[in-house]
């Protein structure tokens, strides 16, 4: 009966069939995403978009000027650095929005290490051409941060890694592990007159995620192994890590500074500089800040030391990638190769304080050719020592979870970690892991509003 009915209306049925199929396929077609886009106006020369160049002498700008001088006859190769913002969130938002719009304003994107996977997955950056293969002079530890699905998408511009800073009068011996460090830190509060032991940064920002990961790793726990969320398998060590932060411990019983929940890199440096804390976790840039302060010296000797963290650190840094929407991709590749070559890396370290991405810069650190008097005060020996400590720390460091949905993953992880650490919320590790798995794989994060972390 139905067959007869449809048979009588064959044309209409076929039209309906075609319409139905189109209704399914058209929204899935790749070109449907380009609807409503306005044409890209383009620009002269090359544009590198990234964060603020915080080096004292604007070393990145200086390198760009050097490149421009080498190519002064070619207007297509004249480059400029657009410093989007010193705030990573604003920087990412601008780069992501421009890429989403297929904007051709930028040719080279300076990406924080965990963003590279996201931008590669979005096809906002193109695989980096490596006709001669991966240069073995680049630190092997940095390769995962520029790789997505087995392909290299960027070259590492600078590395970053957590270091342990200590007052020389506080450290008895190199700590054997994070629990040992916290013991020494608690001892320094009791016996050496420091107000607090160990300053780390657990405020609600990306630095908080980094420090929380390091704390968990330091107690033998883990959050993501390979591409699997495993936090529920490490409930015991994570409880130990959380216990170290609980606010009801007496001052002499706790190694961690009470202000950790609101601390950032800057506030930690301030507390350390004021002799308020005995130990501090911070990035390599803090060395130059502290070394330049006369009160951190006794004669020519530094009153503080630096070493790798007693546990693994998060491996950070920034990468340079070619925008998929650049109309000058070949020129962009050449510029990136210049900015990451041996000379540039040595100079960025010696003059700008950026942790290098090449072995050669660590093995033979060269003095800054434009060295200023105050930098000479830090001393070549101190710089060589710093290079050695950074390299050791990088060797033990671990990357953050590599996923295109890293931003959401980080927010969920931090929210729940902070709730457990500072609001004494009970943690259902199975539920916590379920949330993290959803966030990690980019699936909807479903949680009960009354108990957002299970």
């Amino acid at each position: 009966m139905l067959e007869r009915y449809l048979g009588r209306h064959r044309t209409a049925t076929l039209a309906g069939l075609v319409f139905g199929v189109l209704a399914v396929l058209v929204p899935l077609a790749p070109w449907s995403d380009s609807a409503g886009r306005t044409p890209c106006p383009g620009h002269a020369g090359l544009v590198v978009a990234g964060g603020t160049d915080v080096s004292a002498s604007s070393e990145r700008q200086a390198l760009i000027r050097k490149w421009n001088a080498q190519h002064q006859d070619d207007p297509d190769l004249q480059a400029r650095l657009v410093e989007i913002s010193g705030l990573a969130d604003l920087q990412r938002a601008q780069l992501a929005a421009a890429s989403e719009a297929h904007g051709c304003d930028y040719d080279v994107l300076e990406l924080d290490a965990p963003w590279t996977a996201e931008f590669a997955e979005r096809k906002a950056i193109v695989p980096f051409p490596l006709p001669h293969g991966w240069d073995p002079d680049f630190l092997r530890e940095l390769r995962p941060s520029v790789t997505w699905h087995g392909r290299v998408y960027a070259l590492p511009f600078n590395a970053d890694v957590g270091l342990l800073y200590y007052w020389n009068d506080a450290r008895r011996q190199p700590p054997a592990g994070l629990p040992d460090l916290l013991g020494q830190a608690a001892g320094a509060v009791g016996g050496r007159g420091f107000e607090a032991g160990y300053s780390l940064q657990l405020a609600d920002y990306e630095g908080g995620t980094v420090n929380a990961l390091e704390l968990i790793w330091g107690f033998g726990g883990d959050v993501v192994h390979g591409d699997r969320v495993v936090i529920d398998a490490y409930a015991t060590p994570i409880r130990s890590a959380l216990a170290a932060l609980h606010a009801d411990l007496p001052p002499q019983g706790r190694g961690v500074d009470r202000t950790a929940a609101d601390a950032t890199e800057a506030s930690s440096i301030q507390a350390f500089e004021d002799h308020g804390v005995a130990f501090m976790r911070n990035w390599p840039y803090a060395f130059r800040v502290l070394a330049a302060d006369p009160q951190m010296r006794a004669g020519t000797r530094l009153r503080f030391g630096v070493s790798p963290l007693p546990g693994p650190s998060v491996l950070g840094g920034q990468n340079l990638a070619i925008s998929a929407y650049s109309r000058k991709q070949d020129q962009a590749r050449r510029l990136i190769e210049f900015l990451t070559d041996r000379d540039a890396q040595a100079e960025l370290f010696a003059c700008g304080g950026f942790a290098p991405t090449r072995e050669s810069a660590y093995q033979a650190p060269r003095p800054c050719p434009r060295s200023s008097p105050s930098e000479q005060q830090i001393g070549q020996a101190d710089l060589a020592q710093l290079a050695s400590q950074i390299r050791q720390a990088i060797a033990r460091a671990r990357p953050r979870p590599v996923t295109p949905a890293y931003q959401v993953f980080s927010e969920v992880f931090r929210r729940c970690f902070r709730a457990a650490a500072f609001q004494s919320a009970d943690v259902d590790y199975t539920a916590f892991a379920r949330l993290l798995r959803a966030a990690y794989s980019g699936r909807p994060v479903r949680s009960d509003p009354r108990r957002p972390c299970g």
């Binding site: 009966m1 009915y5 449809l6 009588r8 209306h9 209409a12 049925t13 039209a15 309906g16 139905g20 199929v21 209704a23 399914v24 995403d33 609807a35 409503g36 886009r37 306005t38 044409p39 106006p41 160049d53 915080v54 080096s55 004292a56 002498s57 604007s58 700008q61 650095l81 657009v82 410093e83 913002s85 010193g86 604003l90 938002a93 601008q94 929005a97 989403e100 719009a101 297929h102 904007g103 051709c104 304003d105 997955e121 800057a266 500089e273 840039y285 130059r288 800040v289 330049a292 302060d293 434009r370 200023s372 008097p373 105050s374 930098e375 295109p404 949905a405 794989s441 699936r443 909807p444």
Partner: protein, 649 residues
Amino acid sequence: MTSDRSPAGGPGRSRLLRELLDVITNLWQLLVFLIPVAGIGAALVLRHLDQISIALTWVIAVASSLSGLAVLAREKDTIANWLRGWVDGAGAQLSRLARSLLAFGLTAALVAGLGWAATGTVAAVFGGSCAPPIDLRVLTAPENLTALRRAAAEYTAKARCRPVRITVAASGSILNVASGFQNGWYSVPGAGEDGRGALQPDILIPASSGEAGRLLAAPHPGVRLTDEGSIGSSPLVVGISSSASDDLRNALAGRDRPRLGELLDAARRNGVQRTFRASPDVSEIGALADVDLYTSGALGDPRATEHALGSADLPLSDSAALLCALRRRPVTPERLAVIAPEQVLEDYGHGRALGTTCPAPGGGGPPLAVYQVSDARVFDYPFIRVTWDGQSSARRTHEIDDFRRWLGHSRLRGEAFRDTAGRAGTADSTDGRLYLGPRPRVAVRPYRRAEIDDALTRFAQVRPPLHIVLALDVSGSMSGGRSQGGSRFTYAVQVARAAAQTAVHDTDTVELDAFSRIQGQPGVRLAVPPGPRGSIGTALDGLTPQGSDIPLYDAIGDAAARVAAYPQAVVVVFTDGGSEAADPRARAAPLKRALKTRPVVVLTGTDTCAGSAAIKALGTSVRCVDAGDRQPSDVVTSVFDLTTRPGGG
């Protein structure tokens, strides 16, 4: 299809029943046809919102279609009868058309429904990742930052798959925003977020539609601005120390809403010693407040008004920063008044976050009672869509539309704002929200474009043209870091750049000096000769620390000597400090005598004004500003504070 025409006429009751049955049958068949069509429409709309919704919609659509087919198959004769009886003559044609349409619709619904349900199910079962959210960039006055960030977080949390990630950043002054659009926002290397920030906004939410009008009228190549109407309102009010409440009540004779002039006059007569308002140089709210202050004459003419307002001991860059600093200050018996938007003063009073530097919960500071005034304007917060050439897409447009619609439902009332008609929100203040509660509605009288133009012109006229010397210490010690990150030199450059973009007016001349000891060169070198403010940006990019320290007294003395010929001059020296060895006390007295102006020394390093022996030895001959952890715009406001006379005290 067979015909089964009913006999005409017949007993009245059974005919009525038959007709009723026909009507019900017709309605059911109509529904059977419409539901799949409506399902297709709904799914097309929802597709962009939530994949799961689409799948569910199509499950319903498919079920409806199948049931419709079943009904059709079973009731085909009835349908045929109905179609035949529906019209005479042309009925057959219409019937064929209807049947064809039915066949088309049902087939399309069936195929599309199955297809979408299948893709939805596949996505849900095999991973089901959400599409990557797109990034929307929102720029607003610092006073609205917290409220809009909370609103954006609430908005993005409403969907399981976040279609959008919203970044809310603070804008600068009116002039800053206008210049940003005119210059492509990101076209100048090294501009940073304190100048022409490089975050190109998709949405701009200024405090007044008058300002929106000014922006829309100005030329801005490569970008299109569209005013899409107000999303909330908040009146300009005055917060006055609670300790003065009783006296004020008596002075105002119980009037709830005096005029601004009457209120400030009564406050002054009852012991309110100082009145604060954000600086128009760097704050949009400050410039708008000037409209009310100048037109009401509450504090006298513009010159008297500016001299009566503010003080260097509180940052005046915006109302939130001002109240944040007040919150952190020890409570004193001093009576003071703060002119600000109602929502910011309510945030202050309820311990809510203020801007980026005062997180919630926050307490402290002198309690302030909020006074409404009858003649002040109302901030009406227009939503301005910004479309950049090469950056628009249908998806971006859709997400902006959606966010605009959502904000349009008076969402900001839970953040101490009023709705677009001036009505306060009366819901319970739970989950961190703050509704103003039952209080009288205010008439929304927005700031008009001409009024803002006039106030800005008069504000500029208050201060005569200045000759400004910016002297930067470029010695090696400036390479040293700041605990907040970055170097002393970079920070000094940021402040100098912010000064050039905000506090230096078009009628001023500015010169840039660099000082350090380099063999064969003078200690103080002219980097940019006197000229308009636009000339120093590139020169600042080109400066790098080199050479060793020269005595700070030499730098101050040299810069001050350069401006001796100018009637109105300001000397600003950026340094990380001097030392007693380089600047012995014996040299202080001759320098003090030689100074014809009062230089401002901005310390960007670890030295502080109170701790620097070299600065202390100069006493009141110089004005010292600690940069500390303040934003560059705050430092600029302190340096160019109009309560201190140009070049003098």
